[in-house]
């Protein structure tokens, strides 16, 4: 303790700073392994040359990105034209994920509101009921959805039985089937954050709005919604982002022509037919898009926060 500053047992400032870095090490390792390393590998692979049976040759090239955006003819010797195939697949994914998110919002918001307004004791039961199906593997759930939605499936049988329709509604292998599948896959991610926000909401505010001559609808729109908006935005992000890259629902419910980014990427890494650098490049483009969307949301959120 000689020269230790006299405060027995005390740790000097510089030792403390050093210790702090050591204590943070585990989180850095985890972040490095599960976030930075995989993304880094993808980023590097996207700039490498493809090996025909899958895998890569360690030779730098922009071919993967070139192939994504430009069409140079069958033998690659024609003047480059814009390649619309993949851009359209991306566009379709943006739209499909958007529709699924909207569907999840329209159904998830009232559900969350319903749960949050139940007596406090029974709320956990409702939350539990919402999450039960999600203990089953996503693949199984998606296949069941296919069974439910097909032309001779229970849903159509039921609708015909009630007399609402005469002929089965054809849903399978359409955009709607994909949207329903995506919506179903990620619904809890919409319900739970909104539920958390509505539960914290002070319903005296709704009473105050009604007292000040607002109808239920106006009170909802002008008082409740602004208060729970962070939960709604979180729910939308949590549904939209995984929907954008999903491949199970589009594959199983959308059929061959309703391709989405997720399926495109998945295909590049499956079996021997794939193209790893191309899949990696598509992943990087998807990642960039998601980052941009999140950034826009974050900025919007920050602005809303500044406004109160």
């Amino acid at each position: 303790m000689a020269g230790g500053g006299g405060t027995g047992g005390g740790v000097s400032a510089s030792t403390y700073a050093g210790l702090r870095y050591w204590l943070l090490l585990p989180s850095w390792l985890v972040l490095g392994f599960i976030v930075l390393a995989p993304v880094g590998v993808m980023l590097i692979y996207s700039f490498l040359t493809k090996e025909f049976r899958g895998g890569v040759i360690w030779e730098f090239t922009l071919d993967a990105y070139d192939q994504f955006f430009f069409d140079r003819g069958l033998f690659g010797d024609e003047p480059p034209k814009i390649e619309w195939t993949y851009i359209l697949i991306f566009w379709r994914s943006i739209w499909q994920a958007g529709a699924a998110t909207l569907l999840a919002l329209v159904i998830g918001f009232p559900t969350a509101y319903f749960i949050a307004t139940r007596p406090e004791r029974v709320r956990p039961i409702w939350v539990f009921l919402i999450t039960i199906p999600y203990w089953v593997n996503l693949l199984i759930r998606t296949v069941s959805m296919k069974f439910l939605l097909r032309d001779q499936g229970p849903l159509n049988d039921f609708l015909i039985w009630t007399g609402l329709i005469d002929t089965p509604i054809h849903v399978i292998n359409t955009d709607v089937a994909v949207q329903i599948g995506l919506f179903y896959s990620y619904l809890p991610f919409m319900v739970l954050p909104i539920y958390a926000a509505v539960e914290r909401y002070d319903f005296a505010l709704s009473e105050a709005a009604a007292d000040l001559y607002a109808t239920k609808w106006v009170a909802l729109r002008r008082v409740l919604l602004p208060s729970v908006r962070p939960g709604v935005i979180a729910g939308c992000i949590l549904v939209y982002v995984p929907s954008l890259g999903a491949f199970l629902a589009p594959d199983l419910l959308g059929g061959a022509k309703n391709f989405m980014i997720g399926s495109l990427i998945e295909e590049q890494f499956k079996g021997n037919a794939g193209n790893w650098p191309f899949g990696a490049a598509a992943s990087m483009i998807l990642l960039t898009m998601v980052m941009i969307i999140l950034l826009l949301f974050a900025r919007q959120q920050a602005r809303a926060e500044r406004e109160g």
């Binding site: 002070d202 005296a204 105050a208 007292d211 000040l212 001559y213 106006v218 109160g308």
Partner: protein, 363 residues
């Protein structure tokens, strides 16, 4: 004096049950126009439930509520021309102070410019015009309270309901707001229905008070009347400090009840309907209406020993133990000390009740 149509709020045997619990039991109240009316009672007495029935947040189980002669008990809250100042203010957190005050005016169909003008007026009334652009969270408790008041007054309600609006403020601010509320009520001429558990607040502010307990109105009247002539045990005990004595009525003579108060001591007071000879009831005497003397001033001077003196600001309260009898609290105003003597503990003294001070209570 008034026919029914001119009562601001007329509640006719309103009953409110929550499951098997009866929150309000056949409550009838007629509140006049331009009146500062207070519902006073301990927590759980049903006063807030009654206010919520008038506002429309709860439905009556039985009974009628009339607003200026019109039945309103089936209307939803947004169709009732009454506004509420909530206990915790319930200001809209995402709106500015001005937008909060404009809200009700706009909802009643006014144009934005008109609503803004009206909000300006109201904020001026509560002296918050400089804070129009702030968010509620950026204001102090007292300021939020005033915004809540401005917001509720802005749409010009026929009746303003105030649910313990001052309970969250500290004592000094509360006193100041009491005066301000009272003067705003006079200025605007709007009927105020004010809910509180604070009897002092009720006594200072109200034109009339309804004292409530266990879902019933125990007594209704002007502040002075309720304080000086409490009907029953609950009211006497709840409003102000009092000496409550167990007494036995010996006989009734010429409208006066002669009562034994224990230890051979006797006090006489006005007889009350329903209390006859032999009844064992309670008697209430306010401490400030008792006077100490060093010799008997009359037949009913009660001899006792001073036990203790406590300084309580404006008054000194002395405890006097009667021989074999009850113990009395006697208050002597500090400004009277020239005229009235304070006796040291241990001294002999006589307790004298002012005429009309002793009241018999129905249980």
């Amino acid at each position: 004096m008034q026919d029914n149509a001119t009562y601001a709020v007329d509640i006719r045997s309103a009953v409110k049950r929550f499951g098997s619990f009866t929150a309000l039991d056949r409550v009838s109240l007629s509140i006049r126009d331009n009146e500062f009316f207070t519902l006073l009672g301990p927590s759980g007495c049903g006063k807030t439930t009654l206010l919520r029935l008038i506002a429309g947040f709860e439905d009556v189980t039985e009974g009628e509520i009339l607003l200026f002669g019109e039945e309103i008990e089936t209307l939803p809250p947004h169709q009732r021309p009454v506004n509420t100042v909530f206990q915790n203010y319930a200001l809209f957190p995402k709106m500015t102070v001005e937008e909060n005050v404009m809200f009700g005016v706009e909802m009643r169909g006014a144009r934005r410019s008109e609503a803004r003008r009206r909000a300006g007026e109201m904020l001026e009334l509560v002296r918050l015009e400089r804070f129009a652009g702030r968010r509620p969270a950026q204001l102090s408790g007292g300021q939020q309270q005033r915004v809540a008041l401005a917001r509720a007054l802005a749409p010009q309600p026929k009746v303003l309901l105030l649910d313990e609006p001052l309970s969250a403020l500290d004592l000094k601010l509360r006193k100041a707001m009491q005066m301000e509320l009272k003067s705003i009520q006079r200025e605007t001429g709007i009927t105020f229905i004010f809910v509180t558990h604070d009897q002092e607040e009720a006594l200072t502010m109200s034109d009339r008070i309804a004292v409530m307990s266990e879902g019933r109105v125990q007594q209704m009247g002007e502040a002075r009347e309720i304080y000086e002539r409490p009907h029953n045990m609950f009211v006497a005990d709840f409003i102000g400090d009092t000496n409550l004595l167990d007494v036995t009525v010996d006989r009734i003579e010429d409208g006066r009840a002669i009562c034994h108060i224990g230890g051979g001591h006797v006090l006489t007071c006005d007889a009350v309907d329903g209390i006859g000879a032999g009844a064992q009831v309670h008697m209430s005497i306010r401490p400030e209406r008792l006077v100490l003397s060093d010799e008997a001033l009359g037949a009913e001077s009660l001899a006792g020993t001073v036990v203790d003196n406590v300084f309580i600001g404006t008054d000194i309260q002395s405890m006097i133990q009667l021989e074999n009898g009850p113990r009395f609290a006697v208050r002597t105003s500090n400004s009277d000390r020239g005229a009235r003597r304070i006796f040291a503990p241990g001294a002999q003294a006589f307790v004298n009740a002012e005429p009309g001070a002793a009241r018999l209570l129905i249980d």
